[in-house]
């Protein structure tokens, strides 16, 4: 047996401190500073809690909070069920069976992600509404219309599920395609039936991947404002908006935000616990591709229908409804001002994409250059913004910036300068908020491409006498370009679609397409909302298809 720690001095406190002094460098400090900067909105929410709740808080706790909690639980539960059914079944069929149009459906299943859930919500409301599309069709065919009311929490759960299931589809498919083949073959060799293989082997093995996708879905469910508002369902997010805008009680918004954060962290812990229980999923990816099964004609037809249903409900139907509306309203909505809003929207999305990617690069590489090992875990804390609902981040930024602006006005006022609001209500706050919220969207693709570059490549650059920064620009950046590029596109799409955070933080004279669609819908002009919605969908669709091609190539 090896005697561990035969020189006991090595890990004494004194030696540890000595090494810490030797190893701490500016990169460690920079990493900490960036993480702190990104965590500030959350920290402020925590700090504001000590200021006590607002006047209406006790009223909210008594009459509204039970409803918020009940509705949120309802949504979390039913969305989970629906999303698992749509996501896992389509992923399994697509990766295990051969059927007509499989290749096309494989990427069509991702497209619902191009439509923000509130827009899917508007479309479905239009389809099922009294005097809506279905109503008209039925009347034309002289059939009595049995009206289904979907403007409630059940309808909302359906709308959110059908627009968010691709998160589960993508991660389950990745597992089935890359990791499952040798296990599947082993199961076949043992003579186990297809059904039993799926339920006894594949499903339990895919659980960590599926849960990871599911947690993303639930974060989006809790983040949603637009759809819940339109469907009249009171959730935490609508509660935050109400206490901020209608009640004008920031303290109450802060308390609701804090509660929501607790729920989200419970979700994250649930995921960690699920993944910890099953470590086997981390086995090396298998290079052999899964063998697809050819089945009989009837079966093929059935599978095609099963896979087509989520595509139809999540993409074809809502887009058709929107196109129909767009056809009716094109002449009134299309004008110079609309063009201007589109350009603003693009501009904001592009700038924030670059800012966010820049922060992600700083965080990834600074923590890599830091010689302290715990800094790498610290860097990951900066990514947590993705879990925090946009409305909460907005509140966490709004409160300190108002205070900061007041202070600046006071200080500059003493010199007789009237500065006005510098941060609050300006694009600076908005860009900052997007960076906090979407850092993970940029961080993950960049990190995974940078992990594909063998560490001996930058190492050999350093041994050849070239420092960290120069090594980055000359060696690493050229090798991770595709990752950086896809990060920019992904953040761009997310900013284009973002609603709650933008509504709270945007300067009053600036509009985005998402805000425009929301405003039309809230002003009972949901038909007019179709054109900005379609603009968002098409700008998001092109990169989604493009990125998926990239992913398939890899």
């Amino acid at each position: 047996m090896k005697q561990a720690g035969s020189n006991s001095e090595t890990f004494s406190l004194k030696s540890r401190i000595k090494r810490f002094l030797r190893d701490n460098n500016r990169w460690s400090v920079f990493t900490l500073a960036i993480v702190l900067f990104l965590a500030l909105p959350i920290i402020f929410i925590g700090v504001e809690l000590f200021a006590g709740p607002g006047e209406t808080w006790s009223h909210i706790v008594k009459y509204l909070l039970p409803e918020y909690i009940l509705n949120s639980l309802f949504l979390v539960f039913f969305c989970s069920v629906l999303v698992l059914v749509f996501g896992v079944s389509s992923a399994w069929f697509v990766s295990r069976f051969e059927f007509p149009m499989r290749r096309q459906l494989e990427w069509l299943l991702i497209l619902p992600l191009a439509i923000p859930s509130y827009i899917v919500g508007y479309a479905y409301a239009g389809i099922f509404d009294y005097g809506g599309t279905l109503d008209l069709l039925f009347r034309q065919w002289n059939i009595e219309f049995i009206r289904v009311d979907i403007m409630n929490r059940a309808g909302l759960a359906f709308v959110l599920s059908i627009s968010l299931f691709p998160y589960v589809y993508v991660s389950a498919r990745a597992f089935f395609l890359n990791q499952a083949n040798n296990l599947l073959e082993a199961s076949k060799m043992l003579g186990v039936s297809e059904r039993k293989t799926f339920f006894k082997l594949m499903l339990p093995l895919a659980r960590p991947a599926i849960v990871a996708g599911l947690v993303l879905v639930l974060m989006e469910v809790l983040n949603d404002y637009g759809a819940a508002k339109y469907y009249g369902v009171n959730t935490f997010t609508t509660g935050i908006f109400r206490s901020w805008f209608s009640l004008e009680e920031p303290e109450t918004a802060v308390y609701l935000s804090a509660l929501l954060i607790i729920i989200i962290f419970a979700l994250i812990l649930f995921e960690k616990w699920q993944v910890r229980k099953i470590k086997f999923s981390s086995s090396k990816s298998n290079s052999t591709q899964i063998q697809r099964k050819e089945s009989s004609g009837v079966q093929k037809g059935l599978i095609f229908i099963m896979v087509f249903i989520p595509v139809f409900l999540g993409f074809v139907l809502p887009v058709a409804q929107l196109l129909y509306w767009a056809f009716l309203t094109a002449t009134t909505v299309f004008d110079l001002q609309f063009l201007f809003v589109s350009l603003q929207s693009f501009g904001i999305a592009i700038i924030s994409a670059f800012i966010t990617v820049f922060f992600a690069l700083l965080l990834i590489y600074f923590s890599k250059w830091s010689a302290l090992r715990f800094i790498k875990n610290v860097a990951r804390v900066g990514v947590l913004g993705y879990a925090i609902p946009g409305a909460v981040i907005a509140i966490g930024i709004m409160i300190p910036t108002i205070a900061l602006d007041k202070w600046i006005i006071d200080v500059l006022g003493q010199f007789g300068v009237d500065s006005g609001l510098i941060i609050n209500g300006t694009l600076i706050a908005l860009f900052y908020a997007y960076a906090v919220r979407f850092l993970a969207v940029a961080y993950n693709p960049i990190e995974s491409t940078s992990l594909k570059v063998s560490s001996s490549i930058p190492d050999s650059s350093k041994v050849l006498g070239v420092g960290n920064l120069k090594t980055f620009f000359k060696i690493e950046f050229p090798l991770i370009k595709t990752g950086v590029f896809s990060a920019v596109i992904l953040v761009f799409i997310d900013v284009m679609k973002e609603l709650p955070l933008t509504l709270i933080l945007k300067p009053y004279d600036i509009d985005t397409l998402a805000v425009k669609a929301y405003e039309y819908a809230s002003d009972e002009m949901v038909m007019e909302a179709s054109i900005p919605s379609l603009f968002i969908i098409f700008t998001a669709m092109v990169p989604v298809i493009f990125l998926n091609k990239l992913l398939i190539k890899k």
């Binding site: 561990a4 020189n7 890990f11 030797r22 190492d459 050999s460 041994v463 070239v466």
Partner: protein, 333 residues
């Protein structure tokens, strides 16, 4: 020129050590091989010397200058050590010439120097190509040219031949060391293959579980190994335990560990001459013909099993085997 003093590194805060109290030094112009199994700490040692890891205790001196200790750490880019990685680590987006130029961009006549290096490794015409257009052996030589271009005082080769099959390996090993001999650089050469080490190194350092077991000239390691492990690295070795002692009637000092190399055990020694002090009978359990020699699996009277090699094709079911007492290896374990 390189002086390493009680160097330790742990990756789990002292629960186990990848490297523990390693001490040795190299003189200018030495070619030293570090031999050890995977997990013995070879790569950790190399990365510590190159500055890619930081030691938990101990120190490293290069040319009389401390480059790593408890309170000092010189960045790898300031150490002027040449390192050839196991997987070559050529920059895939740069041409061969640019790869070689990379470390000497501040040099005045860098173009000449780079071309000189490519000439040295016999790739004069390949400068404009990209790494993926070259064979494994050629990439290896580019990596060598790139490492040698800045004229490092110490060149480290980390398992440079482990990705190659055995035929190519011998050829490339000779090529690489012919090139290195022309430059009189001090070399630290990491390998898990004793043949590699024996054929090129003046001195060999054996690492086991993160500790130095022996550092000696190549010839001495075969004749006078420190431990049974070292002995078995240079050929199959059998421990002479109680059962074998009783079979051969050779009582040995019980406080030491004794062993004999299988190749020193003679089959049917001629006429019981003076060559073998200890003799015993053995049953042949199995014969395996390996080309021109035969491997015999034997069972001794005491029940012990033993393998020996012989050239003799005429083997009866029971044979005599014996060895000379001067071939017995003795360790204090």
């Amino acid at each position: 020129m390189l002086k390493i003093d009680s160097l330790s590194k742990s990756f789990d805060k002292g629960k186990s050590y990848a490297l523990e109290n390693v001490t040795f030094d190299l003189k200018v112009g030495d070619v030293c091989a570090i031999v050890g199994e995977s997990g013995s700490g070879k790569t950790t040692l190399v990365r510590l010397i190159a500055g890619l890891e930081r030691p938990d205790s101990g120190s490293i001196l290069l040319d009389g200058r401390t480059i790593a200790s408890m309170n000092k750490f010189v960045q790898p880019e300031k150490r002027k050590i040449g390192l050839v990685f196991q997987e070559y680590a050529l920059f895939p987006h740069l041409t061969i010439l640019d790869n070689v130029l990379y470390g000497i961009s501040k040099l005045k006549n860098k173009k000449n120097r780079a071309q000189e290096m490519l000439d040295l490794v016999g790739l004069s015409e390949m400068g404009k190509r990209y790494p993926h257009q070259l064979s494994g052996g050629q990439q290896q030589r580019v990596a060598l040219a790139r490492a040698l271009a800045p004229e490092p005082s110490l060149l480290i080769l980390d398992e440079p031949f482990s990705n190659l099959d055995s035929m190519l390996r011998t050829q490339l090993r000779n090529e690489v060391f012919d090139i290195i001999k022309k430059t009189d650089v001090t070399v630290l050469f990491v390998t898990h293959d004793t043949q590699d080490a024996l054929s090129v190194a003046d001195e060999i350092l054996i690492l086991q579980h993160g500790k130095v077991v022996q550092k000696d000239a190549a010839a001495n390691l075969y004749v006078k190994p420190n431990t049974l492990y070292v002995a078995s690295l240079f050929g199959n070795t059998v421990r002479i335990n109680k059962n074998i002692q009783s079979a051969f009637h050779c009582p040995l000092n019980e406080e030491c560990c004794h062993a004999i190399r299988n190749e020193k055990i003679k089959v049917n020694p001629a006429a019981m001459d003076s060559d073998c002090d200890y003799i015993t009978n053995a049953q042949v359990m199995k014969k395996i013909v390996l080309g021109d020699s035969i491997q015999l699996l034997l069972k001794l009277d005491s029940g012990e099993q033993l393998t020996v090699m012989t050239q003799d094709t005429n083997i009866a079911d029971t044979i005599t085997i014996g060895f000379n007492s001067k071939d017995i290896l003795q360790f204090n374990e």
